[in-house]
């Protein structure tokens, strides 16, 4: 019995990786993608949905091509993080939590990204940008297509 349970739950261990992989293909987790994962692992769709919505880096809505995550935690906040947030909002014409009309950028606030020595900092996709200042924002955004 113990053996069987262990073996079964080991298939399930693929779940987070499958979700991450599906998201990397289309940028988000569609209903179809989640259904497919549920079927392949032989678990319920609600279970997959539960996992997909637990993790802040997984998204069930289509985001922009590039995801900007600005750190809002204390070390960044007190290094004028808010002026950086404001300048990105101005540059893109959207508020945190929104996506630009051309689908180029999504912009969200996130918690500590472990770059406090370079505060204020943000992630664009997997790239870290530190020691940010409003004057540098436009130039950084230009490097993303």
């Amino acid at each position: 019995m113990t053996n069987k349970t262990t073996a079964m739950s080991k298939n399930r261990k693929e779940m987070l990786e499958l979700l991450q992989e599906a998201q990397s293909k289309t940028g988000f987790l569609s209903k179809e993608a989640m259904t497919k994962i549920a079927e392949s692992l032989n678990i319920s769709k609600s279970d997959v949905y539960g996992v997909a919505t637990f993790y802040s880096f997984l998204s069930i809505k289509p985001p922009g091509r590039n995801i900007i995550r600005i750190c809002q935690s204390l070390p960044c906040h007190y290094k004028d993080g808010q002026t950086v947030i404001d300048s990105i909002a101005r540059e893109l014409g959207i508020k945190p939590g929104e996506t630009t009309a051309d689908g180029k950028f999504s912009f969200t606030l996130t918690n500590c990204i472990g770059s406090c020595d370079k505060a204020p900092a943000m992630l664009i996709n997997d790239d870290v940008h530190g020691n940010l200042a409003p004057a540098r924002i436009a130039q950084i955004l230009k490097t993303y297509k």
Partner: protein, 402 residues
């Protein structure tokens, strides 16, 4: 106490992309030495060194390994916790960027000691840029034959602070929501897939090769009676020189914050991030050790211009957002605290709010399932203790009209 590089010995010395440069610096010599010892001897050496968990809890590493070694299971596992999510902490990022090989060697020794054939490194999603280099370092170690006993797999988190908690982390590796499990049973007995598991912080495992190579007695000479070795500190906030400092345990906060990081006009220091302790400027002589304050070594400095209530409110907002939601003292408690603290921010708080904060704190400390809920009230209790007037000033006084 001075700076001393044990954990960071090879950082910015070797080329983290080339294992040969690590081998030139005695790389994997400790692993080779460990293989000439019995598992019990390796564990005895780590136990004798006094090495304690560097993730913050400070559990003796050798005792944990002994527990896993002696436990019965179908399989045993080693997990390296690289889900460094605590606000103000970036030491593990620095280590992974600069010396992944020492970590791999530490994991290989841990696996040998506890009898695990498989090991996992759980890397936070925010550090995805480290995933490729880390996997490459593992591949290089494997091709040199250093992973003959152990298979190391890197698993990636997806942006959940709570997954740094050991049980939530294991749930996440198992492909579930990163929610808490009740303890006991502890992971040493029933961890990953209910099997005996040792879960150690990156920095803890980084110490292991040095202990095996140089011996427990050598390691023992550094530190205080109950805190041996060094601690890697992440210093940020209102300091002239933010960054990573490795200090002998028992160093004072002042040495780090004032002498090294060159902070001026300090109002308070938060040691250990959002769940950590608050040390006012008048107490900068406080020593950093497991006996006093330490946690995972996040040192965030706030100068005189910062508002204590704002610090407490923002910290609580973070904790409320990151609470996994499984137990109500934490889920509801952090939410209620945010609301009450908001009253202090706006200046609409009532006299009774301080009493409510205190009562709620004791309920959360007593009844929460894990460290998040148990330590979430720390920021409120400590600021109330040291900066009571900041709260009193924000209470709305009702004028009695006669």
């Amino acid at each position: 106490m001075p700076e001393k590089r044990i954990v960071l010995k090879n950082c910015e010395v070797i080329d983290p992309k080339r294992i040969d440069t690590y081998l030139e610096k005695d790389g994997f010599k400790a692993w080779q030495k460990a293989l000439t010892m019995t598992s019990d001897q390796v564990i005895a050496e780590v136990k004798a060194s006094g090495l304690r968990g560097r993730g913050g809890a400070g559990f003796p590493c050798g005792v944990k390994w002994e527990g896993v070694r002696g436990a019965h299971g179908l399989e045993k596992f080693v997990i390296c916790n690289a889900d460094e999510g605590e606000v103000g902490t970036f030491k593990d990022r620095y280590i992974l960027q600069n010396d992944p090989f020492s970590l791999i060697e530490g994991i290989a020794i841990a696996a040998y000691a506890v009898g695990a054939k498989r090991a996992f490194i759980y890397l936070r999603g925010e550090y995805r840029y480290l995933l490729g280099p880390l996997r490459d370092a593992i591949r290089q170690a494997g091709s040199k034959g250093f992973l003959s006993h152990t298979d190391i797999e890197v698993r990636e988190g997806s942006g959940a602070y709570i997954c740094g908690e050991e049980m939530a982390l294991m749930e996440s590796i198992e492909g579930k929501r990163g929610e808490l499990r009740y303890k006991p049973p502890f992971p040493t007995v029933q961890g990953l897939w209910q099997q005996p598991t040792t879960i150690n912080n990156v920095e803890t495992l980084m110490n292991v090769p040095q202990i095996i190579l140089n011996g427990a007695a050598w390691f023992n000479q550094f530190g205080t009676e109950r805190s041996k070795g060094t601690k890697v500190l992440s210093v940020a906030g209102d300091v002239a020189r933010p960054g990573i400092y490795e200090m002998v345990l028992g160093s004072s906060l002042k040495e780090v914050v004032i002498d090294l990081a060159q902070a001026k006009n300090v109002k308070l220091v938060q040691v250990g991030g959002s769940c950590g302790r608050i040390i006012p400027a008048s107490m900068l002589d406080t020593l950093l050790s497991y006996e006093t304050v330490l946690s995972a070594g996040a040192i965030t400095v706030f100068d005189e211009s910062r508002n204590v209530i704002d610090i407490a409110h923002r910290t609580m907002e973070f904790l409320a957002e990151e609470s996994c939601g499984k137990c109500s003292p934490c889920r509801e408690g952090t939410g209620v605290m945010v609301n009450i603290l908001e009253g202090f921010v706006k200046g609409t708080a009532a006299e009774k709010d301080i009493k409510i904060l205190e009562e709620l704190s004791s309920a959360m400390i007593l009844c929460s399932l894990c460290g998040l809920g148990q330590f979430a009230p720390t920021i409120v209790m400590d600021t109330l203790n040291y900066f009571r007037s900041a709260y009193d000033e924000r209470i709305q006084r009702v004028k009695v009209v006669k």
